[in-house]
């Protein structure tokens, strides 16, 4: 038999809407982000899955059409627990502002997250994108994203779908998960109706999430499907 079990490398990218409308709930979302990776790690560890590497990064997003290049704030991956303080500082520094009217550039954030510098270590990997937003997503039309983001964002929803569904794409077929805490509406409902390995909680950035549904989400990440 192999040596003691398999090692898991877990990467989580948090896509957080930081437009002005998130003001009443952004602090709660920040708390949830800090708690989320701990719950994933605990779930894996309880099942004797060795988490050899755990990294998180943040993509805070607003609206390219309203905020230009300032619509995106990206962090690098933070290796936890060593860089916990830097991660907390980055999250703590996010402030709700801009965005104009709905919708926001949520799909662009998902596209940038999909192309993250995912780890290649570990016997098995989990590559998780978590989105918190209270608004529908701006349609991808190939015109909204300024440099340096334009080249990293597919030109339409179909191309973004291809990016996600491609088994040879940047994310592993078995390791990827997309968790949406986002309202029912353009963009988000299209994703949960079509894409594989997605769990969508239709809500204003996770408001009203039951413990049962939260547990289901964590299990869907920690276990094979």
């Amino acid at each position: 038999m192999a040596s003691q079990g398999l090692s898991y490398a877990v990467d989580i990218v948090f896509c957080i809407d930081v437009t002005g409308s998130m003001s009443p709930i952004l602090d709660k979302v920040k708390e949830n982000a800090l708690r989320f990776y701990e719950d994933v790690q605990r779930n894996l560890t309880e099942k004797s899955k060795n988490v050899d590497e755990l990294r998180v990064r943040v993509i805070a997003f607003r609206d390219f059409k309203h905020d230009g290049a300032a619509a995106i704030q990206e962090s690098p991956f933070f290796a936890l627990p060593d860089e916990q303080a830097a991660f907390a500082d980055f999250v703590g520094g996010l402030t709700p502002e801009g965005g104009g009217d709905a919708p926001e550039s949520g799909l662009e954030a998902v596209a940038l997250a999909t192309s993250s510098d995912w780890t290649t270590s570990g016997d098995r990997r989990r590559q998780v994108i978590v989105v918190w937003t209270d608004q529908p997503a701006q349609p991808l039309d190939g015109a909204g994203a300024p440099a340096p983001y334009g080249d990293r964002i597919p030109k339409d929803f179909s191309a973004l779908t291809d990016l996600w569904e491609n088994d040879q794409g940047p994310m592993g077929a078995s390791s990827k998960r997309l968790i949406l805490f986002a309202p029912d509406g353009p963009g988000w409902s299209d994703i949960s109706g079509v894409w594989e390995n997605v769990v969508h909680h239709p809500s204003q950035a996770g408001r009203g999430l039951s413990d049962v549904d939260y547990g289901t989400i964590i299990d869907s990440i920690a276990n094979s499907v």
């Binding site: 099942k47 004797s48 077929a173 390995n197 547990g215 289901t216 276990n223 094979s224 499907v225």
Partner: protein, 340 residues
């Protein structure tokens, strides 16, 4: 018929294992060997039950096990050869109706989640129904039914392990590739999604060992050959069937990262007979497959340790030498310029 048989069910978290106790029944001319694995990733929804909160995965494997075992016992007659395709259709019907009824009884909590990933009461199944094809003869028909990535095998004294099921994985059925690929399944039993029960019939000749196992048993082996060696080496070293069972459990528990359930039935020989019959195969397997792979694995591990040590030494030396070099290198950067 002389037989040897045992089964076990190892849970990673006591009382919360998502594998069902395996199916193991046998008579002079019949045998039933099955393993079912509730799918934790898709079936994490927690239901309130009289025994306390249980995940859909936990419930699914047990409900499906009871449904399948009961129906197979009803269908299985020594005098009649089983109609395999019709039985697969019947098992599908029983599972669809039974799981749907159980889901209603559970009064499923209202979920707001939308997902093609999350399922109601999802489980795998691998089941072999063995039927002797001639009175007191050595020929057996193995009717194999499965859905998902649990597996059934036959181990024959000369040929060794042969997989009877094909993993229902999106990536395909290569057993070595699937050890590391962790591919999503593309067909599993559940209460809310379409599925099918695969079937095939294989002619077996006793003496042989039939095994059904969940992926916690074989997925943590270094290779399919190592899994066969695990079964045979523990047989080789055991004094009796109980000792074999215990040793196999201990070996799997030491390395697995998942719940692990296995049922084994030998037909055509008793424990001592199987030990003799598989002795040469065990030696040959070790010599040809296990020792070369393990030796190279040890060398790789040693090289990785040495590489890590070299990298650490390089990093330390680089820092030490930079500290020695730096003062002169930065002399004019540190000093205040006089402007001349």
């Amino acid at each position: 018929m002389a037989t040897v048989s045992f089964r076990f069910n190892l849970a990673q978290v006591e009382g919360q294992g998502e594998d069902a106790d395996p199916i193991l029944r046998f008579g002079p001319n019949l045998g039933l060997v099955g393993a079912l694995d509730g799918m934790g990733g898709a079936g994490g929804t927690v239901y309130e039950t009289p025994e306390g909160p249980r995940t859909g995965a936990y419930i699914a494997s047990r409900v499906a096990r009871d449904l399948v075992e009961r129906r197979m016992v009803e269908l299985f007659e020594p005098e009649w050869q089983l109609d395999g395709p019709a039985t697969a259709t019947e098992l599908h019907r029983v599972l669809v109706e039974g799981l749907a009824a159980r889901l209603v009884e559970l009064k499923a909590p209202t979920s707001a989640l939308r997902s093609k990933l999350v399922r109601a009461l999802p489980t795998t199944m691998a089941l072999v129904a063995l039927q002797r094809t001639e009175p007191a003869g050595a020929s057996w028909a193995a009717h194999v039914f499965w859905a998902g990535d649990s597996r059934s095998y036959v181990l024959e004294p000369e040929a060794g392990a042969r997989q009877l099921t094909i993993d229902d994985l999106r990536s395909g059925g290569d057993a070595l590739h699937n050890l590391t690929d962790d591919s999503p399944m593309d067909n599993t039993i559940s209460a809310d999604k379409e599925f099918h029960v695969n079937y095939r019939q294989v002619a077996l000749s006793a003496p042989c060992l039939v095994v059904s196992a969940t992926d916690g048993c074989f997925h943590y082996a270094r290779s399919p050959m190592h899994f066969e060696h695990l079964i045979l080496s523990t047989l080789h070293d055991a004094e009796n069937a109980e000792g074999w069972n215990s040793a196999l459990q201990a070996e799997i528990a030491a390395v697995t990262g998942d719940d692990a359930a296995l049922a084994l039935l030998g037909v055509g020989a008793d424990f001592a007979g199987f030990k003799d019959l598989f002795a040469e195969r065990t030696r040959g397997l070790r010599r040809r497959f296990i020792e070369p792979l393990d030796e190279l694995h040890s060398q790789v591990q040693q090289a990785e340790r040495e590489l890590a040590e070299l990298r650490h030494r390089r990093s330390t030396l680089l820092r030490e030498l930079w500290d020695a070099y730096k003062p002169e290198y930065e002399r004019y950067l540190a000093a205040k310029g006089d402007g001349s």
